[in-house]
Amino acid sequence: MDKENNFSKRREKELAEDTIVLEKAIKNFWEILPIPVCTASPIFIILETGKGFDTLFGYIKNELVGESLKEIAFDKDSFKKILSQLAEQRKISNVEAVLKNKKGEKISVFVSAIAQEDEQREVFSYLFSFVDITLMKKTERELQEKVADLERFQKIAIGRELKMVELKQEIEDLKIKINTG
């Protein structure tokens, strides 16, 4: 009996120590991960945010805990659609969304998320990650503008060329008319 008790106590102590190690590892992971991540309840109430998330959206630690994830949506309706898609499929990858920081400034992101389920496959939370693509989108917009400029220039240049060909032809026609006339 004593042997059993000792074994059980040792096991309990080991488990407690392991839990502490795991808890520290998880805490460090949340702290160091540069990618903005957060967890949310099945109805998208924010439960935890990582340091990267707080930095990107401009909040202090735990400030958004208890608030709806829709709080960071720039366009609430389109974000709702993404969340509905997630609730239905239980996983989304790199879905483009426009969110906003605390100041209300637009932030373009790729949203990925996965549902955490219990034994009955019921969702008890979601894990979200956001990749900031604001700079990429800005560069993309600038490139699109440059392409549009080039297209306009090309159109003008080609138009000019065609006009010159047309005028040359007209001169040739006139020369022929004079010579034959």
Binding site: A16, T19, I20, E23, I26, K27, T39, S41, P42, I43, I45, L47, E48, N62, V65, G66, E67, S68, K70, E71, D118, E122, F124, S125
Partner: protein, 201 residues
């Protein structure tokens, strides 16, 4: 001002609590005050015979519930906080608690949430049992009862705030949730504490 005899009586009571509660206390004190305030509380605890520092608390380790009670009393004593502030501290706790983040499954289905409640308690405390006595889904109300956990009324105020916020985390953002201690072992000569939870959505 609490006397030595009462402190000794609290220290005699059995039961452990996870260190996470001390971290949530420290978080709230620092949110409202400074490191000096934490030091004042630690000095008060030392004066009562509890040599404890908040920074040393390991969230998943077990500590005497008596220390937890004395920590709340020391906060009242050293910082001059009233019951309403202790309740607010309880409300802040689920938002920052490691236990909530790691182990709570906050199902929006209130029946499923109710089933989890005894488990939530066991994750935090080795003493006392928390159970749902009555759940009226249509009337959006639930009565929960905490048995064998008669430590000190300060914990009742703290837990009232705690239960309110933990329930709030399962409801939509615009829902109003309230928790009220309707029966207290220190007030009503009943062997338990009972809390009424109400929500609007």
């Amino acid at each position: 001002m609490i006397n030595r005899e009462k402190i000794q009586n609290i220290l005699k009571k059995q039961g452990d609590v996870r260190g996470a509660v001390f971290q949530t206390d420290a978080n709230y004190i620092l949110k409202l005050g400074s490191r000096d305030d934490l030091l004042k509380v630690e000095n008060q605890l030392k004066e009562w015979g509890v040599d404890f520092q908040f920074k040393d608390a390991k969230p998943m380790s077990w500590y005497p519930v008596a220390w937890r009670v004395l920590s709340l009393l020391a906060i009242k004593e050293a910082l001059g906080w009233d019951s309403a502030q202790i309740r607010e501290m309880g409300k802040n706790a689920p938002k920052v608690s490691v236990i909530v983040k790691l182990f709570f499954k906050l199902f929006p289905d209130i029946e499923k949430f109710a089933q989890q409640i005894p488990n939530y308690w066991r994750k935090h405390y080795t003493a006392g049992e928390l159970g749902v006595v009555e759940l009226e889904k249509d009337k959006q109300t639930m009565l929960i009862r905490l048995k064998n956990f008669s430590f000190h009324p300060v914990l009742c105020q703290y837990l009232e705030g705690y239960f309110e916020q933990a329930t709030k985390l399962t409801r939509p953002e615009d829902a109003v949730v309230t928790a009220k201690e309707v029966q207290c072992s220190f007030r009503d000569s009943v062997p338990y504490e009972a809390y009424q939870l109400n929500w609007t959505k």
